[in-house]
């Protein structure tokens, strides 16, 4: 029943899909390429939900030992609460985006190559989430990053190439910092297995090296997550990509590569202390207020959304940096919610681009009349991101603010409230200019987008509406198991090594 071999499928399926599509894509019809990609994405989603189910019944962690080598030798793959939470987030969003791309990517010439890169990125992200080996984490991080550099430049227009070059240079420098951090940790502990590394670190008395490696990781993963001092690449790179890839980058890539990897290393390996927590909170608060102010003055729809991504990442770090169970719960819930509504917003912007071929807010007007599905799903997503009560964004922001007050950080709570108000005002601007008002004469003949795009937008909008139900007692185990992994800190080592020895 709980044979852990299914953990490897999260890497095998997308890798197989990537190379199969790139080889066979030339010879089979486009329709089959679309069908195969959607089926593989759906399979991944099913397996990630199955993983949640297995973990709920088992109540522990699942460890798959590649080649039968017992840790600390060899590489192992670990499925615990946090990993399965991230897998569901990644694969849910990826499935909807894959369905959306079926229609959207028609205007680009080479669809099989697009799906190849898409699945390579997915393989990198899934692998990063399930791996239990620090160097393997770095390799998967690079796979996902290189695929995303190529995808940003997919249109090969002048702006896209420029953005991609900037992103690739900054991403590579960030990866070097992460690599040096891993080298220091390896030299200090003589092991690469994450659980074993945590075990060795608890026995060391002289830990002067740890803050230094923590700074290297903060720089590296902070750049991947686009926290404010390291955010310069994101507002260029995310809008330049095709809309479905912007949704993927903003929705899940910055969270798996940045947030997940950082909190996994900080909480479970280095062992969290108050200094790291306050650094995370400070950077989170800074990003959330700076980026939202920068977003106010944007007229390019996708660039505006990209600045909001930075700001919402700030909320996630603020919540997790509090270090209390309530704060971490809020942070992780916001991570899930943000990946859903930010992907939806980017898909909406792609739909507008598809219909009227512009991203400038001043050019649009009165689109609600002609594009009702896009307008209504966009309204739902805007209210979610601004934190209006019945939608999912409200619950996570409310929990984060509550957790701030509970721990006595009134200043951060105030910053979070102000950030939320500014978010609301900037999305009212989007609603006013894009969807309300008079329909312009030249847009009399536009049509609503094709069926596949509508289906995925409506699906994501439904998750936005019902996302708050994750806090119900019968479904809360899903979030709680993820929070517990972070709270147990270096106890992670014992849990994983015991499960591996079985």
């Amino acid at each position: 029943m709980s044979n852990p071999i299914f953990i490897t499928y999260f890497v095998i399926i997308p890798l197989f899909a990537a190379f199969f599509i790139s080889l066979a894509g030339k010879y089979i019809k486009r329709l089959y390429v679309d069908a195969i990609s959607s089926v593989f994405c759906f399979l991944l989603l099913v397996f990630s939900l199955y993983g949640v189910n297995v973990l709920h019944k088992l109540g522990g962690v699942l460890v798959y030992k590649i080649g039968g080598w017992v840790p600390p030798f060899g590489i192992c793959m670990v499925l615990d609460g946090l990993s399965s939470f991230m897998l569901v987030t990644v694969n849910l969003v990826a499935f909807f985006i894959c369905v959306y791309s079926v229609s959207y990517m028609e205007k680009y010439t080479d669809k099989p190559k697009f799906f190849t890169l898409f699945f390579l990125m997915l393989a990198g992200m899934n692998g990063l989430v399930v791996t239990g080996d620090l160097f393997n984490l770095f390799v998967f991080l690079e796979i996902a990053s290189i695929a995303s550099y190529a995808l940003v430049a997919f249109g090969t227009e002048a702006e896209e190439l420029e953005a991609s070059f900037k992103y690739a240079i900054m991403g590579t420098v960030a990866s070097s910092f992460i690599f040096i951090g891993i080298a220091f940790l390896y030299g200090f502990t003589s092991t690469l297995n994450m659980a074993d590394m945590a075990r060795v670190l608890t026995t060391k008395t002289n830990t002067l090296l740890l803050p230094f490696t923590a700074v290297l990781f903060l720089m590296g993963f902070g750049l991947k997550a686009a926290l404010v001092p390291f955010h310069a690449w994101l507002p260029d790179a995310h809008p330049s990509a095709p809309a479905s890839i912007s949704a993927m980058l903003s929705g899940v890539l910055i969270k798996t590569l940045g947030v997940y990897a950082m909190i996994r290393i900080f909480f479970n390996i280095l062992g969290i202390t108050n200094i790291y927590l306050s650094a995370m909170m400070f950077l989170g608060g800074l990003s959330l207020i700076t980026a939202v102010i920068l977003a106010l003055s944007q007229w390019d729809l996708k660039r505006l959304l990209a600045y909001h991504s930075i700001s919402q990442i700030g909320y996630i770090f603020l919540g997790i940096g509090l270090g209390t169970p309530l704060g971490i719960l809020g942070g992780l819930l916001h991570l899930f919610n943000h990946s859903v509504f930010k992907s939806l917003l980017f898909l909406n912007s792609g739909a507008i681009d598809y219909a009227i071929n512009t991203r400038d807010l001043k050019e649009m007007s009165g689109l609600k009349e002609k594009m009702p599905v896009t307008a209504n799903t966009n309204l739902i997503a805007s209210m979610s991101i601004a934190g209006i009560p019945p939608f999912n964004g409200f619950f996570s922001k409310f929990i984060i603010i509550l957790a701030c007050i509970q721990k006595g950080f009134m200043g951060y709570a105030l910053v979070a409230v102000i950030g939320s108000l500014l978010t609301l005002s900037s999305f009212m601007k989007v609603q006013k200019y894009a969807f309300l008002g008079e329909l312009k004469e030249k847009y009399k003949n536009i049509k609503e987008v094709p069926m596949a795009m509508k289906v995925s937008m409506v699906g994501l909008a439904l998750i936005c509406i019902f996302g708050g139900f994750m806090l119900l007692p019968s479904l809360k185990f899903f979030l709680n198991s993820a929070v517990n992994v972070l709270l147990e800190g270096r106890g992670y080592a014992q849990v994983v090594l015991e499960a591996a020895a079985k």
Partner: protein
């Protein structure tokens, strides 16, 4: 100790190239230098003075061998570096097609 310090110097030279140079090709070379320096650093971590390769042969006592894991990891890292360099250079060629220049101060159509 001197060797580690020289690694740091090499890293800083690469970082200087990335941050200060205006030519795209020179920036890519800077990235390459950063990668070499970090690979060198990782190999040095596993090196012992007068150490020998960790190969198990008959009738030999293996006493003073170097750590083989960093060497394996650095091989992976070199391959990753090759992939990144290839991608960067192909982007640079396309940029030259579009803009007609390698100077990054002239390649700035993105604003904000």
């Amino acid at each position: 100790m001197t060797l580690y310090f020289l690694c740091l110097v090499l890293f800083c030279i690469g970082l200087y190239g990335v941050l200060r140079k205006r030519n795209i090709v020179k920036i890519i070379i800077g990235i390459g230098i950063i990668e070499y320096s970090m690979n060198l650093f990782f190999v040095l971590l596993g090196y012992k003075l007068h150490g020998r390769a960790p190969i198990d042969a008959q009738n030999q006592d293996i006493l003073n061998m170097v750590d083989p894991i960093p060497q394996a990891l650095v091989l992976t890292s070199i391959v990753i570096g090759l992939g990144i360099t290839a991608l960067l250079i192909s982007i640079a060629i396309r940029i030259y097609d579009k803009y007609g220049t390698f100077d990054i101060t002239k390649i700035k159509r993105l604003k904000g």
